[in-house]
């Protein structure tokens, strides 16, 4: 195919795409005009039904909890996939002298960066924990909390280096914690089935006061497990990627 034919083919395709795209845009409802009934209904009944004032969490972990289980396991499988793809291959070994400190050819982290990162570790941990455990009362949730918790570990890596990161998050431990997080979510749902209720039905007491930390039954519990799973999955993935930067090709001792 000659260059000009190819260009015409591309332009024809682009014109078609642009036409359909514009057609679609014209058919959209006006900005800020929500046409569906579901959002309005949920807004009206969610707090009364679940005692969760964080309605986003109520939707995520209750009304569409089954979808969220699926998403949870997407992340779980992604982390597992990263672990499998980034395993140590034959002929790969860690750079020598690693235990004595990272390679001498690399500049060490400046004290300013290390201190700044260290200062943030505590507040970030608290924030992440708060987000993961207050899904029922605020627009936070397990996913956000988990990611923020993982960020705390990344800050520890920034301040203390890879050896510290490894010491506080050994792969076996993060693996196990991740499995507990993902399995916990699924198990909460299965417990409902054992009681003769639909999967992921909210069978825990909802609490008396909407918006209390102890309210909302399984929503708060599921959010907590999601936080654990997400934090562990991200720490695991970042850890695997970090390990990769340390590996060199070649036979041991060469």
């Amino acid at each position: 195919m000659s260059a000009s034919t190819r260009r015409w083919l591309f332009l024809a395709g682009m014109a078609g795409l642009a036409a359909f795209y514009l057609w679609g845009l014209v058919g959209l409802p006006g900005f800020g005009h929500y046409p569906g009934p579901y959002g309005l209904i949920i807004n009206k009944i969610a707090v009364a039904q679940t005692n969760a004032t964080g309605v986003v969490s109520a939707v995520n972990f209750e009304y569409r909890g089954f979808d969220t289980v699926g998403e949870e396991f997407i992340l779980f499988m992604a982390a597992a996939g990263v672990s499998v793809v980034l395993r140590h291959l034959r002929g790969e070994r860690e750079r020598p002298g690693l235990e004595q400190g990272i390679g001498a050819d690399e500049p060490s982290t400046s004290d300013a960066v290390a201190q700044a990162a260290l200062v943030f570790v505590g507040p970030v941990l608290v924030l992440g924990w708060w987000l993961a455990s207050h899904a029922q009362t605020s627009p936070s949730g397990g996913f956000q909390g988990g990611v923020v918790l993982a960020t705390a570990f990344i800050l520890i890596y920034l301040s203390g280096g890879l050896l510290t990161f490894r010491r506080i998050s050994p792969v076996a431990l993060t693996d196990a914690v991740e499995a507990v997080g993902a399995g916990g979510f699924a198990a909460i749902g299965l417990a409902a089935v054992l009681m003769g209720l639909p999967y992921l039905d909210n069978y825990l007491p909802l609490g008396i006061k909407p918006g209390a930390v102890s309210s909302s039954g399984t929503i708060a519990l599921i959010s907590f497990f999601v936080g654990v799973e997400v934090a562990a999955a991200l720490i695991l993935m970042v850890g695997e990627m970090l390990e990769q930067t340390l590996l060199v090709q070649g036979e041991a001792g060469s």
Binding site: L131, P139, S140, G141, V148, V238, M241, Q244, T245
Partner: protein, 80 residues
Amino acid sequence: MTASLQLVLLVLVAVGATGVVLIRSPVRQVVALSVYGLLLAVLFLAFQAPDVTLSELTVGAVVLPILLLLALAKVRERDK
């Protein structure tokens, strides 16, 4: 007020996205991507989605750039 703020942020996000695409050096591109993630997070906040803001702030501005930087470090190691 809110509408104009949303408009300004939309323009900033468009500029940021174009910048990420146009920057050729991978490391600089990652830094630009991180800034772009931050812009998106603020945009979501302006559109009243604080939950998405929190996710975007950590995933888009921190975790994704770190994963990309690590990948770049690995590639550079192999090229040596």
